[in-house]
Every structure is written in structure tokens, then in C-alpha cells.
């Protein structure tokens, strides 16, 4: 009989069979609870009471009207950008340039805010800014898409590089041609009130726009021809060509749409949140949104929940810092722990671990050896 001449590794991985949805959600909830426990430990180590810490996060982000409004302000660009990159990721086009596309959109919208505010009434002006933001973001995204479609360049590096170019350019505008008078401040002037998005419920109306976008994106991906094409291209370019699809065109169109949505987010940030433009307008949202889109498995409705959690944590972390003197790095660690567990649980949904020397296996070996 065959004898095993090699050692059994301590832990092995095996791909799981499809898990039932109930079990999947069970694991996800367990992961979040576990993350909260570990996060609590982190708070405890930093010298505060974990329960009080969590209470501060919740109260500090949702408890007061002003705090709640700030949370919503964090939430809007995160959700909007996650929605923007969803079609790219569905197409397996790794667009990590949302940061730059937001900035490009914000810049184009700002041009009209600065130079057309006195010539146009409020509503047409805002509409023009909206369109300018969309086109700006869209064109910025189109450049790497064009290179990818024509010459197969690597989109990951290309889109990342595009971020630095546009952010650098806005920095130049801020300190040069668009600098407010008197010069020397390195800042762009506050927008004329005509160029600021109106508030609804105390927060600029961007939250309505992104919530409408959730439904639009869901519809687009699931029920339109373009959404169908995106899914086919993402699965196999060969199949797409076989089906008579124009793959380069689809890649470019999808990236334009994605960039356009990011550009609108940029417009909303400049016009609604900041009432001005600066080089850090995107503030890392373009990267955090990748996590959101991924965790939501590209489902727009799931993105709402995940963006909300991250927005709450972000605002709550501020309160933690101001009210309990917990260092800002600690709240970053808590966010990290949460993300780690959420990503980790997807892994456990797909794989299982097998430990060497478990009772059943020993039994096997005896039977064979005998």
C-alpha cells in the first residue's frame, strides 16, 4: 500500500463549494462583530473605555444634527465615486484614477463658477457646471481608455499616473492664474453664491443626486444593452468579439461614463461641499471608493450601506479625537481593522482551512496503514 512520504502541512486551503446565502450573511455579520471586538481592544490599549469609545463614534457621527450633516457630507462623494468605478470594475478595467477624474471634473466646473457666475442665472449656471464636470472627468478618463483600447497599455499604472498630473495642474492654477486677489494666498476665491449647490435638509443637494444615481446605476448595469456589453467584455474579450461587439469602443465608452460620474462628484465637492477648488478636493475618496465598490461586490445598493459605515467611522473618528483625546491614528487603525475583517470574510466564504492532524484524518491514516 502506498505510504505517504511527505509531511502534511499544518494548514491547507481548499476551495469551498457554493455556500448558502444565509451562511454567507452569517459569516459577514460575525466578521463585523469580531472587527468591533478587535477595534474595542485597540481603543482599550490606547487607554480609553471601548464602550464609551464606540458610543462616542455613534453619537459623534449621528447624534447631533450638525454631526449628522457632516457624516452625510462624507457619505456623498464616497458613494458617488464607488458608483462611478463599478462599471469599470465589472469590465475588469482597473480604474484607480477616480481621484484624478474627480479633480478634473471639479476643475472644469470651477472654470464656469469663476468666470461665468455674473453672466448666468443660478440654475443654468449650475447645469452648465454639472455638464462641464461630467465632460471634464469623462475626457480625463478617456485618455487611458484610448491607449488601452488602441495599444493595450496597462490601465492601472496609466490611470494612477493621470491622478498626479491633474492634481499638479490644479495646484498650479491655485497658485497662478486662478489665485484670488490679492495674490499670495495660494487659494482660489470662494464661489459666488450663484455657483453654490443649494442645500436640502441642511446638506447640499448632492445626496439626492447620488441616491438617484444608485437606482440609475443598478438599472444601467442590469437592464441596459450597455450594461450587458460591459459584463460580457469583463468576462471574456473573445466572447465579446464573437458576439459582434466593438470591444475598444465599449472600453472607451464605459470609461467615459465612469469618469463623467466621478467628474460630477468633483463638481459637487467644489460647488456644494467646499464652495471653492483646491488641489486636495478629492481627498483620497477615489481610493476609498475602490474598497467600497469591491466590498459591495459592485452592487449599488450594498454600496449605500458600506459608504454609510465608512462615513460614520470617519466622522466618529473625529469626535473620538476631539472628545476623548484618542489620537487620529487610532481611529485609522479601527477603520483598517474593519476593512481587514470585511475583506477577510469574503476569503472565508470562498475557501476553507483544513488543519492537519484533526481527529478524522488520523482515523483515515490508521485505516490505510493497517
Amino acid at each position: 500500500m502506498h505510504t505517504s512520504e511527505h509531511k502534511t502541512p499544518l494548514i491547507r486551503l481548499a476551495k469551498r463549494e457554493q455556500m448558502s446565502p444565509a451562511a454567507q450573511w452569517g459569516i459577514r455579520i460575525a466578521a463585523i462583530l469580531l472587527a468591533l471586538v478587535v477595534g474595542g481592544l485597540v481603543i482599550a490599549i490606547s487607554g480609553s473605555n471601548p464602550i464609551a469609545g464606540y458610543k462616542t463614534i455613534v453619537v459623534g457621527s449621528l447624534g447631533k444634527t450638525s454631526a449628522f450633516r457632516q457624516t452625510v457630507k462624507n457619505f456623498i462623494p464616497l458613494l458617488g465615486t464607488a458608483l462611478a468605478i463599478a462599471p469599470c470594475f465589472k469590465m475588469r478595467f482597473w480604474n484607480i484614477g477616480a481621484e484624478g477624474q474627480i479633480t478634473a471634473g471639479a476643475m472644469c466646473a470651477t472654470y464656469f463658477a469663476l468666470f461665468w457666475a455674473d453672466q448666468l442665472p443660478k440654475v443654468p449656471l449650475l447645469l452648465v457646471m454639472f455638464v462641464a464636470g461630467a465632460i471634464g472627468g469623462g475626457l480625463w478618463a478617456l485618455i487611458p481608455a484610448f491607449f488601452k483600447a488602441k495599444w493595450g497599455t496597462n490601465e492601472t499604472l496609466f490611470t494612477l499616473m493621470m491622478n498626479y498630473i491633474i492634481i499638479g495642474f490644479v495646484k498650479y492654477l491655485q497658485g497662478g492664474p486662478w489665485e484670488k486677489m490679492p495674490r499670495g494666498s495660494q487659494q482660489i476665491a470662494q464661489f459666488d453664491s450663484n455657483a453654490c449647490l443649494p442645500k436640502v435638509g441642511g446638506v447640499y443637494c448632492g445626496w439626492i443626486i447620488v441616491l438617484i444615481l444608485v437606482f440609475l446605476m443598478f438599472w444601467y448595469m442590469k437592464y441596459t444593452k450597455q450594461g450587458y456589453e460591459i459584463a460580457v467584455v469583463g468576462e471574456s474579450e473573445n466572447t465579446a468579439r464573437y458576439a459582434g461587439m466593438n470591444v475598444p469602443f465599449i472600453i472607451m465608452r464605459t470609461m467615459f461614463i465612469s469618469g463623467a460620474i466621478s467628474g460630477v462628484v468633483g463638481f459637487m465637492l467644489a460647488s456644494g461641499a467646499n464652495n471653492t477648488l483646491y488641489d486636495g478636493v478629492a481627498a483620497g475618496v477615489g481610493f476609498t471608493a475602490i474598497t467600497v465598490a469591491w466590498l459591495a461586490q459592485l452592487n449599488p445598493f450594498a454600496m449605500v450601506g458600506i459608504s454609510a459605515i465608512l462615513a460614520i467611522l470617519e466622522k466618529g473618528a473625529d469626535s473620538l479625537q476631539t472628545e476623548m483625546q484618542v489620537p487620529a491614528s487610532i481611529s485609522d487603525i479601527i477603520t483598517g481593522v474593519l476593512l481587514f475583517f470585511m475583506l477577510g470574510c469574503e476569503f472565508f466564504i470562498n475557501y476553507r482551512l483544513i488543519f492537519a492532524g484533526s481527529g478524522k484524518k488520523q482515523e483515515n491514516k490508521k485505516e490505510v496503514g493497517a
Partner: protein, 527 residues
């Protein structure tokens, strides 16, 4: 040998496996003995692969017991199976392309110390000699043919000391000559006392290689018979549950009109090697044109070039519209009566000028279908643009999916189950069904019955004949010469990218075609 024959290698008792609502295996009992080759036979989706996957540790049974060497065992992973001396050769190989044969063979064996190249090569050679394999331990996988890769997989499990071998449709990807070689090896292993289970849909192979045949039907165990005491007709009846005729028709079509005219077609691979060399032929409506040849003689490139998926260096492919009186005439926008050039057009341009070309490519999940989508979404792959407006209309594809499930007896939990999860044969039915349903004037199929059970194969032959009778020009790339000779009106033989002969299917012999297949073409030595 007589002593070994009594020893049970594997015994399954009441094995049950469910996937959601589908009962893939329902209380199966099975016995595999040492020194014996057992064929596992059953229609597509009858649960053969699932059952074998439970023995090799990929799935875990919901119910039932497995005995190895008379003892009850629990197999939780492929590693457990290996420890019990069970090795399975899957239909899709799991080899690392950039490694050599020897490296792949020891891969995953966490032996102590370094990879001793000499020792491995020596042991590989010893195994090869013992069973009659033909293997070069230092050859890289990407340089290998399918059959060589399969050899590596088999040596790999033998190297690990497997004495129970399971082969899932090993011959589906082999030429007849390669199959003969494999069978010779299997017979040597059997003489060595190993227990072998082989899954195949080809009844003549079952008759040639096995000692016993176990039959599954719709997840249930029907029985085991001695091969010597049965015949293909009886086995088919056991498998299907009713009498089935095993004759292939070759009816005469009413019209025979020129549909495709290929002239001087030359293609090169990305490396610059000529894959097609000055290929010329005609295909007629109301005719099945078979294409025979050793695997890789340019069959794939030929079909893809006609379909607009492959760039051609020179040549032309002229399309002529069907006869105005034929059944299929009315569906199409008129094209140039003097022949419409297809070369240089993309698939969508070809569609647009009203040429309805159906194509069943060899790579089903990589080109013909989208594996992660359900049947409905796959049905509309080529037609989703027809509906007006920005939305897709899933009603017609859904109706089509349901109709195909009925007509072709496709086994699937539902129209939205990802097609990747269907059994191999059912995937093929989904693809062929969709292509035939699109009312083509030219129907090109590559290995349409590969992996299909006998009953479904005959269904496909019937469908191809129906298309031919309607006036469609059917181009069929096949590997089974017996079938090609029974079904096709004419057979074109490719050898090294050149046409080495075109014969009449009614009068040609197998030997004649075989001769053309190996006649060295001038373009072959080009590389």
C-alpha cells in the same frame, strides 16, 4: 491475476449528493476492483463527474459511505484521496505552463530539501517504461500537445503512488491514434493490478477497453454489466431508458447552391508561422461539408477567419445568398449576387450586411458563451441589439432558453444558473441550440458532439441534417472519421494548414481520409 480480482478497491454505498434542488447522485452503489477497468457510462448530467469528484476529495457526500480496500474512509480533500492512493485525471488539466513535465510532477509534493532533478527524471522514466508512456521530463508544458499534457497528468498521479486511477473523459480531446496509445497504457496498468475507472461517451471505446460497465441515469445507479456480455445497443438502452436508433441519416437536400467560396486563404499566427496556407474550397447550401485533419492542422483558424475573428494575410471568402425558393431565403437582406467579400469584415459588419453566419467555436466557455451568466443572458449574446431602445429585452431569450431546455433535454436547475455550472454536455447543447436557432444560412461547428452523450450526439446530427435540408451550408469540423463518413456529403482534409484532399463522403473510405490527414503538406515545415 485471479488472486487480485477478488480484491475490492473502492466500494460506494448509498452515496447521495445534492446541489440545491438538483440531486446529482441519488443513493449510488458501486464497486471497483483491482486489476480491472470499469467504464462509467451515463447521459450528460447523470452525475458521473460528481460521483468521481467525491472519491477524489473535491466534493463531500451528503450521505452514504465510501470503502477503500474494504475499510470505511472519510475523504475531505484531494490530499486525503492521494493518501489513500486515489488519483483523478480531470478533463481540464491543472498544470503550470512555464514548468517542465518533471517540475509539474513534483509540484505540491512538499518533500524535504531541494528538487532533485536527476532522481525525479529517473523515477519518471521508470514509470514511463513500466507502462509504456512517451514522455520527455524536461519539456515545458506550453510546448506540449493536449495528449502530452494528459500523459504528464497521469504520470503525476502514478508518481505519487496512486493505485486507483480515475479518468474523466480522457479521450474527448485525443485523436484516435492517441486514444489507442492511452488504452495500451491503461491495459499495462491493469495488468499491474491497478484499479481504473474511465468515463467516456464513446461506446466503441467502452467496448474496447473495459471489463465492466456501470451505468448511471439521472443521478441513479442502474446496474453493472460485464462488457463481454453486452453491446452498444443494449448499453444505450440502459443509459437512456428506452430503445434508441444508432443510425446516422444522410438525406438528399432539394437544393444545392454555392454559398461560400474560399480562395487562396493564408493566415499567420502571432509568431509568424503559417496556420493556413493557400486554402481554397467551396461550401454549398443543402450540404454538410466535413473538415477532417489531425488536431491543430488549421481547423480553428479556418473557421475563425470566415467568421471575421481572425485576420487573414491574403485570399478571399465570397458569400452567395441562398436560393430564392429555399426555406431560408426570406430571412435575409439581399447581398451582392456576385458574391459578398467577407474577409476583412468584423463579425458585426458581417451581421449587418445580412449574412447570417452561425458559429459553434471549439472553446465553448471562452468564446461561444459567457460562463458566469445564465442561459437567458447567453441566449441573447448575438441578438441583444435587435430590440429597439437602450434596454435589453429578456423575454425572447428566456422563451428560447425554456424551449431549448425542452427540445434538447438540457439538464439545468434553472434558466439563470450560470452555464459554467452545467455539466459539459449540457454546456454544449446550450451553445449549439442557440446557434441553430438563429436561422443561419451558413452553420459552422467545431467538434459539436465533443463531450456529448450518445443520445445527445444523435440529436445534434439530426439537427445538422435538418439545417442541411433547409438549405443551410453546414461546415462541420470533426474528429471521429466514422461519423464524418456517415454524415457528410463531402469531406475536406487539412494537413499542416493546406488542403490535402476533398473526398465524397458517400464513396470515400476511412483509410483514404487517414492517408490525406498525414500527407505532409509543403507549408508544414515552415517554422
Amino acid at each position: 491475476m485471479s488472486g487480485l480480482e477478488q480484491v475490492s478497491a473502492i466500494r460506494l454505498q448509498g452515496i447521495t449528493k445534492r446541489f440545491g434542488p438538483v440531486v446529482a447522485n441519488d443513493g449510488i452503489n458501486l464497486e471497483v476492483e483491482r486489476g480491472q477497468i470499469l467504464s462509467l457510462l451515463g447521459e450528460n448530467g447523470s452525475g458521473k463527474t460528481t460521483l468521481m469528484n467525491m472519491i477524489s476529495g473535491i466534493y463531500f457526500p451528503d450521505d452514504g459511505e465510501i470503502f477503500v480496500g474494504g475499510r470505511k474512509v472519510t475523504i475531505r480533500s484531494p490530499k486525503d484521496a492521494f493518501d489513500l492512493g486515489i488519483g483523478m485525471i480531470h478533463q481540464h488539466f491543472k498544470l503550470v505552463d512555464v514548468f517542465t513535465a518533471a517540475e509539474n510532477i513534483v509540484l505540491g509534493l512538499d518533500g524535504k530539501g531541494k528538487f532533485d532533478k536527476k532522481a525525479v527524471a529517473a523515477k519518471v522514466r521508470e514509470i514511463s517504461e513500466r507502462y509504456g508512456f512517451d514522455i520527455d521530463p524536461d519539456k515545458k508544458i506550453y510546448d506540449m500537445s493536449v495528449s502530452e499534457k494528459q500523459t504528464v497528468e497521469i504520470v503525476k498521479v502514478l508518481y505519487r503512488g496512486a493505485d486507483i486511477l480515475i479518468l474523466d473523459e480522457p479521450t474527448a480531446v485525443l485523436t484516435p491514434q492517441e486514444t489507442d496509445k492511452l488504452f495500451a497504457v491503461l491495459r499495462n496498468m491493469k495488468a499491474d493490478g491497478k484499479a481504473i475507472v474511465i468515463i467516456t461517451h464513446k461506446l466503441h471505446e467502452v467496448m474496447a477497453i473495459s471489463d465492466k460497465v456501470a451505468v448511471l441515469r439521472k443521478g441513479k445507479y442502474i446496474g453493472t454489466v460485464n462488457t463481454a456480455e453486452t453491446n452498444p445497443q443494449a448499453l444505450t438502452e440502459m443509459m437512456v431508458g428506452r430503445a434508441v436508433s444508432l443510425n446516422i441519416d444522410r438525406p438528399e437536400a432539394k437544393y444545392r447552391d454555392l454559398r461560400l467560396e474560399v480562395k487562396g486563404l493564408t493566415c499567420r499566427s502571432l509568431e509568424g508561422v503559417k496556420t493556413l496556407d493557400d486554402v481554397g474550397f467551396q461550401a454549398f447550401g443543402g450540404e454538410i461539408l466535413g473538415i477532417a485533419g489531425i488536431a491543430g492542422s488549421g481547423q480553428k483558424e479556418l473557421l475563425e477567419a470566415i467568421a471575421g475573428l481572425q485576420k487573414a494575410e491574403t485570399g478571399s471568402v465570397l458569400y452567395y445568398p441562398p436560393h430564392p425558393n429555399s426555406e431560408i431565403a426570406g430571412y435575409h437582406v439581399p447581398v451582392d449576387r456576385n458574391g459578398e467579400e467577407l474577409l476583412g469584415k468584423t463579425p458585426s459588419q458581417i451581421q449587418k450586411i445580412g449574412v447570417n453566419l452561425s458559429f459553434v467555436p471549439e472553446d465553448r466557455l471562452g468564446m461561444g458563451l459567457v460562463g458566469s451568466m445564465g442561459m437567458v443572458d447567453n441566449m441573447m449574446l448575438k441578438t441583444y441589439k435587435e430590440h429597439k431602445g437602450p434596454m435589453v429585452d429578456r423575454k425572447p431569450p428566456k422563451a428560447l432558453a425554456q424551449r431549448l431546455i425542452q427540445e434538447l433535454e438540457i439538464v439545468t436547475p434553472g434558466v439563470s444558473t450560470p452555464v459554467r455550472r452545467l455539466s459539459g454536455g449540457n454546456v454544449q447543447k446550450v451553445l449549439v441550440g442557440r446557434e441553430i436557432d438563429s436561422n443561419p444560412t451558413v452553420l459552422m461547428t467545431a467538434y459539436p458532439v465533443r463531450g456529448l452523450d450518445i443520445n445527445s450526439s444523435y440529436t445534434i446530427y439530426r439537427l445538422l441534417n435538418e439545417q442541411k435540408m433547409k438549405g443551410v451550408a453546414v461546415v462541420l469540423v470533426g474528429e471521429d472519421l466514422d461519423v464524418l463518413l456517415e454524415l457528410c456529403d463531402r469531406i475536406l482534409v487539412l494537413c499542416g494548414g493546406k488542403v490535402s484532399g476533398i473526398v465524397d463522403g458517400r464513396t470515400a473510405t476511412k483509410e483514404e481520409v487517414g492517408l490525406y490527414m498525414t500527407r505532409v503538406g509543403g507549408g508544414k515545415e515552415e517554422a
